[in-house]
């Protein structure tokens, strides 16, 4: 994580002519406000981790900064109630399926929308924008009717993955990136007799690798964190992703554990950790310019 890097991809800060360069009292006040805000934003994460390591819940202010009594018991507690490994595997299959579908079909669609002239392109683009505005949740009833009642895909990985199989935001990002490549590149490749498949694979794709990473990261957080759909479509706990098993634990059986607060927080840490770790590792790619400059129009 380097600040210099994030600047070069995000904002070219010109220190000499920006008002902040004068380093007045306002500048320091602003910085103080930023750090205070960051503290408020991070505190629940800190509280999650600390609470998950405490033998007894202590909700007092001093309890938030313990010096002793650390234990991993809560993790084995939650693992007794919820099969953590199984749930994590299910979350992984759900997320992996969505990423695979998005990368394969999303890139093809993004490339076609940006670079190829074909009948129906504008209609497809309009429909994609509509999907970005109308949330999936509002169509939950007909999709439930289709997938569970008509096709009998309840309690199956296919049923969980299908409504999310291609992430439209990622398609939009792919399209924006392919659009930014210079047209001469494509003209030259076509003059050389390269096929469209070859142009996509050997010319365009290598140039948009950073965008790929961003789009995959963006696609990851969708299914990994999704609760409503897998909750509706699975009754078999052996197939439920961690977000669902943990939520069920919170709403049903928390009363039976000896330290429900610790156990729930331990589960929350396990659920949050992969997404947070991936994000921190790749955070410098996570800038709006990498997300396809969608707001620059």
């Amino acid at each position: 994580m380097s600040t210099a890097d994030s600047q070069s991809t995000d904002v070219p800060v010109t220190e000499t002519d920006s008002p902040s360069a004068r380093k007045g009292i306002g500048h320091w006040l602003g910085l103080a406000a930023l750090f205070l805000g960051a503290l408020v934003f991070l505190f629940p994460f800190y509280y999650m981790v600390v609470g998950s390591l405490q033998a007894k819940p202590d909700t007092s202010l001093r309890g938030a900064f313990p010096t002793s009594g650390f234990t991993l018991d809560n993790y084995s507690q939650i693992n007794d109630r919820v099969d953590l490994a199984r749930s994590l595997v299910n979350s992984g299959i759900f997320t992996g399926g969505v990423i695979l579908g998005t990368v394969v079909f999303g890139i093809l669609a993004g490339y076609a929308l940006a670079r190829l002239h074909f009948r129906g392109r504008d209609a497809l683009f309009a429909m994609m924008l509509l999907v970005l505005i109308v949330p999936f949740q509002l169509l939950i009833i007909p999709i439930y009717v289709m997938i569970v009642r008509t096709y009998g895909l309840a309690d199956s990985y296919l049923g969980i993955i299908l409504p999310f199989a291609i992430n439209s935001t990622a398609v939009f990002v792919f399209r924006q990136f392919f659009l930014q490549l210079p047209e001469e590149l494509f003209d030259a490749a076509r003059l050389d007799g390269a096929s469209e498949v070859r142009i996509l694979w050997s010319v365009a794709l290598p140039l948009v690798k950073p965008a790929l990473l961003t789009a995959i990261l963006l696609t990851f957080i969708g299914p990994w964190n999704e609760f409503l759909w897998p909750f509706l479509v699975t009754k078999d706990t052996g197939l439920q992703p961690l977000a669902v098993t943990l939520a069920n634990y919170i709403s049903n059986v928390a009363g039976r554990a000896t330290n429900p607060q610790g156990a729930i927080l331990a589960g929350a840490v396990v659920l949050a950790a992969p997404a947070v770790a991936l994000f921190v590792a790749f955070q410098r790619h996570f800038t709006a310019s990498n997300l396809g400059s969608g707001v620059k129009g």
Partner: protein, 309 residues
């Protein structure tokens, strides 16, 4: 959003011009886009049509393959939706949510993005801090808030005698504001990201001109920054509206099923109750159709209002 296709029109290269007029210059594009097009039809267009169809019929769940009669009932489902106090309450709840969430999101994210834009030190750390709730699962975050805002939770411990009674999540007047606060915190990072990008398009010379003219920092913020990032504001407001229309996990888990006494239900939560739990998918589909129309109308009005003046 940029919707224009900036691909230059180069001279046609297709060897079969008649086919080209029928399928476009690069018909291979149809093959490339076909899986995604099929996906959108199957998972978006068809369900949208099905939702409308279900909402105009007496629809109920039947065993797969069973032939059942589902008579057309006109606007009956819509009438029963609109005359249902629980549904109306969920819409009022979302309105409360939006009244708190939208202004808070716009003001906080614009101010924080402006400060971040000027900060040179620790930018990486600060950005990560603000983005992290956005990438984390609602279920995991709700778990922490349950304990922070619980009866004997840290927030009440800090407030001591000032703690609300009944406590936050079981207080009819406070449950929805807590949810709005939770969602603002969780989603703020994405709005900051959008504003940071938009701020790069505000010419630095404008700020200099303002400061030469003797404008204060605040004056330059109000007269240069705020109008300069208007397109981002449109997007932030639309996204916040969509998030509001989508609420489910928070009322389901944080306030234990839209409690207390329905004070924090959301339309999607009511859809779940009516459609899946109570077996009246026709009524639930009608709620969905109303929501889709509402989201489209509100997005359109927002765009018009914020872009016109």
């Amino acid at each position: 959003m940029t919707t224009s296709n900036t691909v230059e029109d180069s001279p046609p290269k297709a060897r079969r011009p008649r086919l080209a007029t029928l399928l476009g210059r690069q018909p291979l594009g149809i093959v490339f886009a076909a899986p995604y097009a099929v996906f959108l039809v199957a998972i978006f267009a068809y369900p949208l049509g099905l939702a409308v169809w279900i909402s105009f019929h007496d629809y109920f769940f039947a065993a797969p393959g069973a032939q059942v009669d589902r008579p057309f009932v006109g606007f009956d489902n819509y009438i029963s939706v609109l005359s249902d106090a629980a549904v109306r309450r969920s819409f009022v709840n979302v309105a409360k949510f939006l009244v708190i969430n939208v202004p808070l999101t716009v003001v906080l994210s614009l101010v924080l993005a402006t400060l971040l834009d000027n900060a040179v030190r620790a930018r990486g750390f600060l950005r990560v801090s603000y983005y992290i709730p956005y990438v984390t699962s609602s279920v995991a975050l709700v778990a922490v808030w349950l304990f922070l805002f619980g009866m004997a939770g840290l927030v009440n411990q800090l407030l001591g005698p000032l703690a609300p009674d009944p406590s936050w999540l079981v207080n009819g007047g406070l449950a929805m504001p807590v949810i709005a606060l939770f969602v603002t915190w969780k989603q703020l990072g994405f709005s900051i990201l959008l504003y940071l990008a938009a701020l790069q398009n505000v010419p630095k010379e404008l700020h200099e001109a303002a400061s030469v003219d003797g404008a204060s920092r605040f004056g330059s913020f109000m007269n240069v920054t705020v109008p300069g990032v208007r397109p981002a504001t449109v997007l932030v407001v639309i996204l916040a509206t969509i998030t509001g229309a989508n609420l489910f996990t928070e009322p389901y888990l944080l306030t234990n099923g839209g409690g207390p006494d329905g004070a924090s239900t959301s339309p999607v939560f009511v859809m779940y109750q009516k459609g899946i739990e109570q077996g009246t998918p026709d009524v639930a589909a009608a709620i969905g159709v109303i929501l889709v129309i509402a989201v489209l109308i509100i997005s359109f009005i927002n765009k018009r209002l914020l872009e016109s003046d």
